[in-house]
Symmetry: C2
Subunit: 200 residues, 2 copies
């Protein structure tokens, strides 16, 4: 059952790189760990690492077994009609969690982050670089606004997938979107405006 | 340094009750554990337990070392001008977390809930009974709306106090209220209306 198109030594090399990445990210955080140091630990050059895994962000996602680099969702969130940006964000977030094999690694990261300071640091820095900074810059809004929507979405994931709060567990994807999209839109739209519940 | 107004045996009795409560809540969940069974475990009658700790909800808060029963905040959230309900909810939530000695037990509960199914069950049932059901009934809104604001607030606490995401860590209480109160108001106000970000 060897993977197609890979020479025998490649799988081993990839695993060595992923092991080195997990260690460096845990010990030095996402910011502190360099691709060069990870490559050196694994006994490969940085170009080969890049060939296998792409950017540092993509390497991080692979090392955490994430099905997709959350940062890759940013362009999809930004691209489309302005008044649907909230819905695109919520659907992108759900696509991570509802995907087959998607949930376990995210659950593992949340569980570790709440109990281990090293993982918390790593997760915080990754969230800042991969998501917060990029969304804030692209939208021209303060990072705290993106942090607000991150809080909404992570709290939702915690209650739906970890704690299992019934009304959130049983809500359909469309019901979740209907409820959370206006909140996401509020955060990502000019922070000066105050959302209200009057009809438009 | 004996506590004023307590006979020597009272402290011991209180501790026995709290120990019994922690065991029962962990083993049977918040719903399954009865005050009668906890009293029996501690070798006291239910009336004495009630005299020391009040309701089951208050006993739970005491057994988790919570500085205050979160359910006690519900009347404060409900009581006041309608258009300030979001601000009252956010300030009540912050008062729990920003109080001296307040943060540690909540952090402990979140950490345990993400890694231990028994604690997750206990926390879920407590959240449902003490907060969700009461707020939903008093406001005449579906429980899922209260779950939405709970997700926002718990996610905020996770990122501000556990993960330490910079823009949320450095935000002042007033900045937090300015950002989160409109979201809380959206959830607690008629769920049929769609919030928007246009000026009122």
């Amino acid at each position: 059952m060897a993977q197609a198109g890979r020479r025998p030594g490649q799988t081993e090399t990839r695993e060595k790189i992923l092991d080195a990445a997990r260690r460096r990210f845990a010990e030095q955080g996402y910011d502190g760990a360099t691709v060069r140091a990870i490559a050196a630990d694994a006994g490969v050059n940085a170009a080969l690492l890049h060939h296998f895994f792409g950017t540092k962000q993509q390497l991080f996602a692979a090392s955490m077994n994430l099905p997709v680099d959350p940062g890759e969702l940013v362009p999809h969130i930004l691209d489309g009609p302005e008044d649907e940006i909230g819905e695109r964000l919520v659907r992108a977030f759900l696509s991570l969690w509802e995907a087959p094999d998607g949930r376990a690694p995210f659950l593992a990261m949340i569980r570790s982050a709440t109990t281990n300071d090293q993982v918390a640091t790593m997760m915080r820095q990754f969230l800042e670089r991969a998501v917060l900074a990029r969304l804030a810059e692209a939208r021209g809004i303060p990072k705290v606004r993106v942090a607000g929507v991150a809080a909404q979405m992570i709290g939702f994931a915690l209650l739906r997938y970890v704690i299992g709060l019934p009304p959130l567990v049983t809500a359909s994807e469309d019901e979740v979107v209907a409820m959370l999209a206006p909140v996401a839109r509020y955060y990502l739209t000019d922070g000066v405006h105050r959302p209200d519940t009057r009809r438009g």
